[in-house]
C-alpha cells in the first residue's frame, strides 16, 4: 500500500507518494517488474487545474531521458512534460483519451500516463529525486505560489 508525505499550504493539501522517484517537473516514475510506470504528482495536478485533454506519445515511441512525453491542457495552461526514463513506451493509459480527469482524481493511481520499458533505469534513476527531496522542493514551490495569492 502506497504511503504518502503530506503538507498543507494555505487551504490546499499536497501529497507525495513515497514509493517512486520524481523529476524536476513533478513527473513520477515507479519501477514495476522491470518496467517504469509514470504519472504526474498531486502538486502538479492541483496547480495545473482540471485536465481537459492529455496527449501522450504513442506505444512504440522511443524516448531519451528529458524528451517530451506528454502534453496536458487545462483551463489554465498547456504544459509539456518530459520523460524520466530512456526507453520505449509499451503502454499508454487508455483513460487519457476519454477521461483524463483521472489525473486530477487519482494522480498516483488510476491517473497514470504511460509505462516505459527502460533502457537503463539504474542510470536514469540517479538523475531523479527521491520522495523526500521532491517533497521539500514541492513544498518550497507551493509556499511561493501561496505568497502570490
Amino acid at each position: 500500500m502506497t504511503e504518502f508525505l503530506e503538507t498543507s499550504v494555505d487551504k490546499f493539501i499536497f501529497r507525495v507518494a513515497t514509493d517512486r522517484f520524481y523529476n524536476s517537473e513533478g513527473v513520477w516514475a515507479k519501477e514495476e517488474d522491470g518496467l517504469v510506470r509514470i504519472g504526474l504528482s498531486d502538486f502538479v495536478q492541483q496547480r495545473s487545474g482540471d485536465v481537459a485533454f492529455a496527449e501522450i506519445k504513442p506505444v512504440g515511441a522511443s524516448l531519451v531521458f528529458g524528451d517530451e512525453i506528454a502534453v496536458i491542457e487545462t483551463i489554465k495552461v498547456n504544459i509539456a512534460f518530459t520523460s524520466p526514463a530512456t526507453g520505449k513506451i509499451v503502454e499508454v493509459n487508455p483513460a487519457m483519451v476519454e477521461a483524463p480527469e483521472a489525473i486530477n482524481q487519482d494522480p498516483f493511481g488510476e491517473g497514470w500516463l504511460a509505462v516505459i520499458e527502460p533502457a537503463d533505469w539504474a542510470a536514469d534513476r540517479v538523475h531523479l529525486q527521491d520522495p523526500q527531496a521532491y517533497f521539500t522542493r514541492m513544498k518550497t514551490e507551493a509556499d511561493e505560489e501561496a505568497k502570490k495569492l
Binding site: A52, F53, I75, N104
Partner: protein, 140 residues
C-alpha cells in the same frame, strides 16, 4: 409549460473568478434570454444556498438543468439538497472536450472561444429544455 412556474429551471455555477464558472453563467443567460425565453427560467445558485423559499419551490416543482463549472458540482448538489431532481447536468469541462476549438479564456469577460463555447453549451441545453417541455406537455 407556458406558466412561469412550469418553465424548465436552469441553475448555473455561481463561481466567481473562474473561467468555467463564467462560461456556465453566460450559457444560462444565452439560454433563458435568447434561445428559450418562453420555456426556461434561471434560478441563481446563491438563492438556493440562502434557502430562498421561491427558489427552492422552483427546483422542487419543475424539471431542472444544472450547469456546473467544475468537478465540485455545486449547482447539482445544491439542487438535490433543495429537494429538486436534476433532469440533466452539464459540466463545462465535458462540453469543452466536445468543442476543443472553443478554448475559453477570461473571467469577467470571455474571449471569443469562451463565448462560442457558452453558445454551444446553451444550444445543447436548449435541446434538453425542448425535450423536458414536450414531456411536461404530454404528462398534462
Amino acid at each position: 409549460m407556458s406558466e412561469n412556474n412550469q418553465k424548465v429551471v436552469i441553475v448555473p455555477c455561481s463561481g466567481i473568478g473562474k473561467t468555467y464558472g463564467t462560461v456556465s453563467r453566460e450559457a444560462a443567460y444565452e439560454l433563458i434570454e435568447e434561445l428559450r425565453p418562453e420555456t426556461a427560467q434561471l434560478v441563481p445558485l446563491s438563492l438556493l444556498v440562502l434557502g430562498d423559499a421561491a427558489a427552492r419551490q422552483a427546483v422542487a416543482n419543475s424539471p431542472t438543468i444544472t450547469i456546473d463549472g467544475c468537478k465540485l458540482a455545486c449547482a447539482t448538489k445544491m439542487v438535490q439538497e433543495s429537494g429538486g431532481k436534476v433532469a440533466q447536468d452539464f459540466a463545462v469541462l465535458d462540453v469543452y472536450r466536445r468543442y476543443r476549438q472553443f478554448k475559453p479564456q477570461g473571467i469577467a469577460e470571455l474571449n471569443e472561444g469562451g463565448e462560442q463555447l457558452a453558445r454551444a453549451l446553451a444550444e445543447e441545453a436548449a435541446q434538453v429544455v425542448d425535450k423536458l417541455t414536450a414531456e411536461g406537455e404530454q404528462n398534462g
